[in-house]
Symmetry: C2
Subunit: 302 residues, 2 copies
């Protein structure tokens, strides 16, 4: 076993034989969008994301589903599975089986297995001072989902968020490996602050993040004051002590640093010499900061 | 992919490279016993069972848990995980991670990955007429769990059932492979009749089962008339058309043929010449019948 449930990494890693490791992860959750097919696709992209964040290639998946017995149209269940299967196919990942239970609350997700050569693995621990911090998707899925539940999300924001969550992290992971990146994580429930702090800790660095340069989903900034999910508040309580705040920016942006993401982007630590070529290959990605020698706090907002 | 979600086999199989296949399965369920540590152990033994039923060696597991937020002692949750971990250790299986959600209804289980050389795999499809049908655990866990919920299970029966469900199918699988067995399945939710019918269908055989020789948990026969789980009735409705009933035995025994099992035993089709040596190596196992050329029904009760 190379990485197990006790580390802060994105997935477990098991050395199967010389030069070949299994990478495994499991995630499932309640619907984050209204469209059942999109929900299935997002659940798959989200589960696959941990595999990509380790630099691995997904091979197989097992579905995990909880479907209500009553008042739930069977074609919705079929649409959820269809959305997931389409996304697995896009990833070249085979569905080997699954388990479905009856439950009043819908839940859906996957256990995913990938493979990686151990020396090509992306971890949280290989960053160097001077590395450029890159984020490959915009922030705000938690705030927008909360506004959506309240019927207050503009359609453009809801659709952009749905599209972003359903996008695989496959290409950014492949591009990052091609440019010599060794340090990556995916941004999920702990938000940018929580996941960036884990990378900083494991790499014995601090990360300076430029608030003004954070990529945001449409309307995320406007919705942030009024629609903070409980996870955002918990993240802020938990991670704010790890953050030194020197930024002149306004409060909504600061809140989004803690917004829990579903199927968020990759956070990459990119060797300085490779940064501009990597950014040219990933038009959606943004340079948002820089790794510096470890200071008193893991994260410095500037 | 060798076996996927569309076949009747116990787990999915993915050919990783020449001579090495991954075998994967996922299962989780609500508590079947009162003791949380025993529940965890049973959930692990049950999930591992599909791996053993394919002749594979378990390598890694991911836990899947739903834990109530309110009115649930945290040391119960710890006991469930501890019971599962102990059983994984007994199986030599590494816990790589997991996912836990808050949910009013407790659920627990695992996604498990094993490895097997494809030519050593146990399937449903390799049985021959003349093979001896062997069952490695006694029947009755569904009936006893139903009586337990009603407060009507004798303590001896409840404990024997708990012990049986927590027992790994590792040794029977290894012994079966050593004696040249190629056809096996594990008895779970569809009961003896349902799983035996799948083996009969895939092997193009019928299976004659001797009702009087079925191994039973203590008190299972006495409890069967009064404590039939809904799964038993559904199995009977579904599988009775596949069963030709020539037996002189009484109704309680007949009902137990359809009793859904949790972490049940292996059903083996054993070449006749190997049967007595195999039975000598597996003192808990019983010869319960014989494979015959395919007749009009998959199962014949005699």
């Amino acid at each position: 076993m190379l990485v197990d449930h006790r580390t802060g990494d994105d997935a477990g890693v098991y050395l199967l034989q010389d030069g070949l490791a299994l990478v495994q992860t499991v995630d499932f959750f309640t619907p984050v969008v209204d469209d059942p097919e999109a929900f299935g696709a997002i659940a798959a992209a989200n589960a696959l994301s941990d595999i990509y964040a380790m630099g691995a290639r997904p091979l197989t998946a097992l579905s995990i589903a909880a479907i209500p017995e009553k008042d739930f149209p069977m074609d919705w269940a079929a649409a959820i599975f269809r959305g997931g299967l389409g996304k697995l196919r896009e990833a070249g990942c085979a569905l080997l089986g699954g388990h479905t239970v009856r439950d009043p609350e819908i839940k859906f997700g996957y256990a995913v297995t990938g493979v990686v050569e151990p020396e090509r693995m992306l971890t949280n621990a290989a960053g160097k001072a001077g590395d450029v911090v890159v984020l490959t998707k915009p922030l705000g899925t938690g705030v927008i989902a909360t506004a959506l539940k309240a019927g207050q999300a503009p359609e453009e924001a809801a659709l952009a968020s749905q599209r972003s969550m359903a996008t695989l992290n496959r290409i950014p992971a492949a591009v990052a490996q091609r440019h010599g990146v060794r340090t990556a994580t995916d941004i999920t429930g702990f938000g940018l602050a929580g996941h960036a702090a884990a990378v900083a800790r494991e790499s014995h660095l601090s990360l300076e993040l430029r608030l003004a340069d954070l990529p945001l989903l449409p309307a995320a900034r406007e919705l942030a004051p009024g629609f903070q999910p409980s996870g955002l508040k918990m993240n802020r309580q938990h991670f704010a002590p790890l953050v030194e705040d020197r930024a002149a920016e306004d409060e909504p942006l600061r809140a989004l640093v803690y917004d829990p993401q579903t199927s968020g982007g990759l956070l990459l630590l990119v060797p300085e010499a490779a940064a501009s070529a990597l950014l040219a290959d990933l038009p959606q990605a943004r340079a948002i900061g820089r790794a510096v020698p470890a200071g008193p706090r893991a994260i410095v907002l500037i």
